[in-house]
Symmetry: C2
Subunit: 368 residues, 2 copies
């Protein structure tokens, strides 16, 4: 186990210690200890056309200890940095919720808690991620557990060699943290990655050994892909040069899932550099597919008001300005219907594996 090795101060740990140093240096000089935290609001987020990703700007705000309005948040930041250092020293990982519990206590001789709810500790962790330029995973903080992978991929996890072609239909359960420190990609002979939104379709593809026939890696996060799945996809793209195709429902939420994989998200703009995959392609379901593949209108679902409002928001996003995307989204609005991938079962239980995806791949029918 990596964590049992003799402890060497990690680069991330050094950054965390830097937070404490700021306080000590200021105290020594009888100055006001101040941390400089990047602004994480919409005003400091831009879409870089050139890089094809959502990025955080350079605006920063000072957080100082001797300011009544900031003192508590300053103290909280130092407490969280301390807990995160503890994780680094011990070589442990934990969850956002446990960080909250770990750092919560009642201040001596008072009824004041360091934190009253996780809503206070989560943003502090994001502040530290942004200001230290360290991914949450590098800070050893797990997100929810992730999803599954099968295909021609050999990983090393905790010293165990995991061959993802030899794990039946179930596959390897992707951990939340897949940074090289924890998971290495030993071998990958696939031609591409297929990132599937929902478990149902992933199960169909895994059961049918689609990965074997099309020499690909099948990944799913059982819904909006969690961070571990996104990071593993990104690593396969970056380190192994694999193209990434995203398969989602045909609705505004499917489009959005794709856009987060591709450009990153507004909320976590500071992470796009490490999470986004600007070359990812949208392979379906497209609003043109029901006609192309002869899906009857009665398996479409009427767009509700929320869907329509969301689709209109998407139309306005800078990263959906390409004419093909405008056409794609407008066609959905015009039809008044959305379609789930599950609806392909109306044709045949194996339609996805045997007809839909083969045709899509053969005709290179995807959106960029």
């Amino acid at each position: 186990m990596a964590k049992k090795k003799e402890h060497k101060t990690t680069p991330v740990e050094k950054k965390l210690i830097g937070v404490a140093d700021t306080v000590i240096h200021a105290a020594e000089r009888r100055q006001d200890p101040t941390l400089s935290i990047p602004v994480r609001s919409l005003s400091n987020v831009t879409f870089s056309e050139k890089k094809g990703m959502i990025e955080m700007g350079k605006k920063k705000q000072e957080r100082s200890f001797f300011n009544v309005g900031m003192a508590k948040k300053f103290m909280q930041t130092v407490l969280v940095a301390d807990a995160l250092s503890e994780l680094q020293r011990a070589g442990l990982t934990t969850s956002l919720r446990e960080i909250y519990y770990r750092t919560k206590h009642t201040l001596k001789d008072s009824h004041e808690n360091t934190f009253d709810s996780q809503d206070e500790s989560d943003p502090v962790i994001e502040d530290l991620e942004a200001s230290l330029e360290a991914l949450r995973e590098e800070l050893h903080v797990r997100a929810e557990s992730a999803g599954s992978v099968v295909g021609p991929l050999v990983l090393v996890d905790d010293g165990d060699t995991v061959n993802c072609t030899r794990l039946g239909k179930g596959g390897y359960s992707v951990p939340s943290i897949v940074e090289p420190e924890y998971l290495s990609i030993k071998k990958c002979t696939a031609d591409f990655v297929l990132l599937v939104e929902k478990g149902t379709q992933w199960n169909r593809l895994s059961e049918d050994k689609f990965w074997r026939r099309y020499n690909c890696i099948l990944l799913t996060g059982n819904g909006q892909p969690p961070r571990g799945i996104r990071r593993l996809t990104r690593r396969l793209h970056e380190e192994k040069g694999l193209p990434v195709y995203v398969l989602v429902d045909n609705d505004p939420w499917g489009y959005y899932i794709y856009s987060v994989v591709k450009q990153g998200s507004i909320n976590l703009a500071f992470e796009s550099q490490r999470m986004a995959i600007p070359k990812a392609k949208f392979i379906g379901l497209s609003s043109g597919d029901p006609e192309t593949y002869g899906l009857p209108r009665n398996v479409g679902i009427k767009l509700n008001e929320k869907d329509i409002a969301r689709a209109k928001e998407l139309l306005a996003y800078p990263w959906f300005q390409k004419s093909d995307w405008q056409k794609e989204i407008k066609r959905m609005l015009q039809s008044g219907l959305k379609y789930e991938l599950d609806a392909l079962a109306n044709k045949d239980f194996q339609y996805l594996t045997k007809k839909y995806l083969p045709k899509k791949l053969k005709e290179r029918d995807w959106l960029d």
Copy 2:
């Protein structure tokens, strides 16, 4: 791949064909085709003290084709039975949602759909499960994807030998269907199964290799355990004689999760015979633990009205009548607080692995 083998009619397929036979025989005799379906309402559910499980009674209702109020449902039942037969013949599995899409069409020369929503097809599948005495999994219908397992367990999935001691921290991604037809337990040298409600704690235990030190199998469903996790736990209990310990949050929902694992659920009473584990033990969090383990009150969460109402409902359930359980639930109500397992991190990130569970196991401190 098992599914490529020459097709032999399976016992379940024979039962499904029996549904069609009922129609044909009746038609030949110019009688009203009628199916006999067990009643799945609370009035037909009992708790068997002796068996320690929730069971379905013997009440049945007739569903006939020539009854105006039943004709549509009868037709739906036959359509679903047909789709399920198709799965058996092809050796495929699918989801509830795909069954809905597969069987949905508009009746010829009408605007009438066979099904208008999944709310109509799901109960029909449950009717067939109950009347054919076949688990949903035996009908090849998947539930949501499941969770993860690590520990001294060797499985065979689709011809692949999966050694759950050699899959790092991530582990094997448990499929939704774990029936012997799909997954066999090749070897299991563990002493017990620890079924963990939440992924956070499972990750902690997996990271710390708790399973190695305590020779156990660690299972989680990342929340309320899905069917695949419950069935795998039951199989390990039944086929390998392993005791099962359930680790949940200390709140009414945690108690309920435990009770479903142990006695089965009211809604799916007809499945208890194959799903319930009457000997499962509740290992924590107990409402006595905060005191025993010195958890401060400020990491407890105030019970809200819903919690209190739910706890009172639990107090009235026949399967919570044991005096220890009455004491357990009443103590939570008296304290006015609930505690998450995550709160153990307040002591130390590894408190669960190094102190809490070792003491619980050593002192055999669990509830039956």
